[in-house]
């Protein structure tokens, strides 16, 4: 058992194990809705109630017709997760009354879902862990409610009927970190398959963990609490950690955990009660009488399997083998398909003598830093891949030093100009001339005799400060390795 699986309350003898399962709802990026031809629109751009027809408004006498692309997308995800795809699955009605559900029921799948028994491998600090996937099924989204204070709410049905894929895991998670890693890995797969935007903020990908605690070593399950309203991976990890702690404290105090749905309050960083959950029986599921079974031909399924693109996991493995990257860096690069594509394009332009590992580090450290600062997504990197390769080649060949390289990259990021051009204009070409550097070092030591003396008296940290002075004197152009050697030499000799 991994150490991350243990949860102990400080100062108490009793320790608990968290048992966590995950339901993920992914809006499928189809053009039209699940059961009617209404367009799927961006919730932030379309005016309310402008993408609604009698079918998704739940008008009497209408009939649903299944969207072929939604089925295909769902099967692609199921195959990517190693599921068994059911050749015959059934739609079912999930009945409940709520104003965002015009028909009074949601068309979903229940007893015979689209697919079952998949898995996804995550890479935790403690090693690999396989998360089992219980089921993958198709359903439709609800409308959107806006609560306007104590006297009224508003209903927009644009989202009602948008295709949703629900992906349910077995309760295989034991720690908040595992939950986040799984959600990130699943998001990457959905984006590689091109079936979902991966946008947690807009609710295109909704992650709902359910959490229960049990005494360490117990095989039974405790009462589970579901958390909704998580719109970032950070919120997901924090909410799960918070909820584990909250339940542990309740159990320690001898109180029972109630089966409820909690929401995550981002401002206060706490979970808050949303509603007492309806029992499964209360949904009164029954087979959807308006839809015959969904029947999929084996040859069609196999065709989709054969046409699956390279997925993040496989691509990361290839990056390790083909480019000699560490597993960690490969994992970071493949998470966004656009970044992985960018890396491979740049790698083609790299000088033969330069290790792709150096390029990977420039992307995952310096370029990511600039992207985060500017809020630029992987699809909008303003530095052409070939130009980044040129820059890395210049640094690796010792033509400019790494510090200058970072400055050049920042400028390339700002104005999209080429690496060689910036180096030439700013006169950043690295100087490795030994006599020139020796002169810089001796001048610096002469200007700072006190520091030089304190180094010789044993204060070795002064070396870094002196090094900085020499580099400044050279306006950042001196070859740092030679400067360091020269400094040590002169300080030792004098």
């Amino acid at each position: 058992m991994q150490s991350s699986a243990r949860f102990c309350v400080m100062g108490e003898k009793m320790s608990y194990e968290a048992v966590i399962g995950l339901e993920i709802h992914a809006e499928l990026a189809t053009r039209s809705k699940m059961f009617c031809a209404c367009p799927v629109v961006d919730p932030q751009e379309a005016a309310p109630n402008t993408a609604v027809c009698p079918v998704c408004a739940g008008m009497p006498g209408t009939l649903p017709v299944v969207n072929a692309a939604a089925v295909e997308y769902g099967v692609r995800v199921a195959l990517a997760l190693g599921c068994e795809v059911n050749p015959r699955s059934l739609f079912a009605r999930k009945n409940y009354f709520y104003p965002d559900l015009p028909k009074g029921y949601q068309i979903s799948q229940y007893e015979q879902p689209l697919a079952r028994n998949g898995r996804l491998v995550i890479h935790t600090a403690a090693g690999e862990k396989t998360i089992r996937i219980r089921r993958v099924h198709l359903e439709e989204d609800t409308g959107k409610l806006t609560h306007l204070g104590p006297d009224r709410s508003l209903v927009d049905l644009n989202r009602a009927g948008v295709p949703l894929l629900e992906i349910v895991t077995e309760p295989d998670f034991r720690a908040a970190e595992e939950v986040r890693l799984y959600a990130q890995a699943l998001r990457a797969i959905l984006r590689y398959l091109g079936v979902n935007s991966g946008d947690l903020q807009k609710g295109a990908l909704r992650i709902e963990p359910n959490i229960s605690l049990r005494p360490m070593g117990s095989q039974t399950f405790g009462t589970k609490v579901e958390i909704k309203n998580l719109n970032s991976f950070r919120a997901l990890e924090r909410a799960v950690a918070y909820e584990i702690e909250r339940q542990a404290q309740r159990l320690e105090a001898g109180e029972a955990v109630q089966q409820v749905t909690m929401g995550w309050d981002e401002d206060r960083q706490v979970t808050v009660l949303q509603r007492v959950k309806e029992g499964e029986d209360d949904y009164r599921y029954f087979p959807e009488p308006d839809l015959p079974p969904l029947v999929l031909e084996a040859a069609w399924i196999e065709g989709l399997r054969a046409s699956l693109p390279e997925l993040p996991e496989g691509r990361a493995r290839r990056f390790v083998e083909q480019y000699g990257l560490t597993a960690y860096t490969a994992g970071v690069l493949v998470e966004e398909k656009a970044v992985a594509d960018y890396f491979e394009e740049a790698a083609c332009h790299l000088s033969a003598s330069v290790a792709p590992r150096a390029l990977a580090n420039w992307i995952s450290v310096d370029l990511f830093g600039l992207m985060n600062q500017a809020g630029v997504s992987a699809e909008q990197i303003p530095v052409p891949a070939a130009e980044l390769a040129e820059l890395v080649s210049l640094v690796e060949a010792g033509r400019i030093n790494p510090g200058s390289g970072r400055e050049v990259l920042a400028e390339m990021f700002r104005n999209g100009r080429g690496a060689a051009e910036i180096v030439r204009q700013r006169g950043l070409e690295q100087v490795s001339d030994a006599d020139f550097i020796a002169r810089l070092v001796s001048e610096t030591l002469a200007e700072h005799p006190a520091e030089a003396a304190s180094f010789r008296a044993g204060k070795v940290t002064v070396l870094n400060w002196l090094f900085g002075q020499v580099m400044r004197k050279s306006q950042g152009r001196a070859n740092p390795q030679i400067v360091r050697q020269e400094l040590e030499k002169q300080l030792g000799n004098q």
């Binding site: 053009r31 009617c36 998704c56 408004a57 072929a68 009354f97 006297d151 709410s153 009164r284």
Partner: protein, 96 residues
Amino acid sequence: MPLSIEEVRHIALLARLELDEEALERYSRQLSSILDHMARLREVDTSGVLPALGPLTAAPLRPDEARPGLSSEALLKNAPEVEAGQFRIPPVFEGE
């Protein structure tokens, strides 16, 4: 198969129906007799028979092509109350 008053009350709550005592009593009798009839059907041995869910054996699929639906004016025409292009409804509170 008698259905208790409590069960009928619960079903009414799920259906958001408000029933008085007399109605609860009446529906309990009526629903129980429907269940009795279903119980008789369940006596037939159907092991090995696939459920016939409808006349079609496979759902027809629709190509993923979007078409405009109703105008929002037409959609909202029968709404009791409208505000900002949306259906206005009594307040809904989370935790209800």
